[in-house]
């Protein structure tokens, strides 16, 4: 049995149990999907206080909508879709911009700066042997870089690289065509790369 078929069978059994009145089965669904839901919430909602309410709201919605779930996707993807929509609705209510870029103007790399950036790239490449120190440093720089990304980019990056979802699955969750997901990911990674190289260069000069 392939892993997809197995997942669908498990999903179906769990859903049937919940619809039959077994709320503990819904507890299992929550446990199985809360990592993915947490990822989406933490990427989109900055306020700690709002996160708890939104997380509960997402699962209450999922519970209410469960009879309409048609098994056309994985249950986790469906719940992630509810999570993403709930978070985006929350941001819209708060009038927050989804594609607002947190990077400073000067972080947009110009032609001249690109030469410096290229040198930094070569340095990083050359020092790649000393991986532990570099990876720790890069991880710290990236943390701030990811935080500065527009909300949509941030979500796409983490869903793709941390949750290892496919373009199609991310498309289902965000409602974006797979091609757009791909192109946003290219842009997001490019922005992160520029940020990383400039920060690395700055730290190197200090």
């Amino acid at each position: 049995m392939s892993s997809n078929t197995w997942l669908h069978t498990t999903d179906r059994r769990l859903v049937e149990r919940v619809l039959g009145g077994d709320t503990n089965a819904f507890g299992i669904i929550v446990k199985n999907t809360e990592n993915l839901v947490a990822r989406i919430i933490f990427d989109t909602i900055a306020n700690d206080g709002d996160r708890k309410d939104i997380a509960q709201d997402i699962y209450l919605k999922a519970y209410q909508k469960l009879p309409t779930f048609k098994f056309q996707s994985k249950l986790s993807t469906w719940i992630a879709q509810i999570s993403y929509n709930t978070c985006i609705d929350h941001l819209r209510k708060k009038k927050l911009v989804l594609l607002q870029n947190g990077f400073e103007e000067k972080e947009n790399v110009s032609e001249n700066e690109m030469l410096d950036v290229m040198n930094a790239a070569k340095e990083i490449s050359a020092e790649a042997a000393d991986t532990i120190v570099i990876e720790k440093n890069i991880s710290d720089i990236l943390k701030t870089g990811i935080a500065k990304l527009p909300t949509v980019y941030k979500t796409l990056v983490t869903l793709y690289h941390n949750e290892e979802l496919s373009y199609d699955e991310i498309g289902q969750i965000t409602g974006l065509p797979a091609g757009t997901v791909k192109s946003y990911l290219f842009r997001a990674r490019r922005e992160l790369k520029n940020h990383l190289l400039l920060q690395y260069k700055k730290e190197d000069l200090c």
Binding site: G21, F42, K52, Y59, Y63, Q64, I141, L142, I146, R190
Partner: protein, 148 residues
Amino acid sequence: MLKHLTDDEVQVYVVDKQNVEMRIIEHMHICAECRAKTEVYRLLISGIEQQPRPVFDFDLSASVLKQLPTPQLKAANDKLVTWILVFVSIGFIAGAVYYFRNQLASMFEGVATIFIYLIAISAITVIAALVFDMYKKYQKEMKVLDLY
């Protein structure tokens, strides 16, 4: 002069190696600058993957389960009320028919059987249409109430 790969092509080489074009692979073999770019992207992706997984500082499952409605019990209660109403209505109608049986029988004396059938069919049709309409309205209102 050697034409370097675009940034997107470098990303494809790092992220989606199975679908990368042969000319990109060949270019990587001869171009140190593009290879350096791939190294940066590799470090970048490894850095993203190393970011700590966000976790809630409360038991989400427990707090959600606490708030779940108990639909089975509610549905059972709803069904019980419906059946009580049905039996009370049937009892009430049966009682009225039994009590007024003589008057009812005399009402239809002298009326042709065909008219009795016509009246009965019309009454049943109207009642069925009303019940159907009521059910549709009920479903619609339940949908409106179902905010999620």
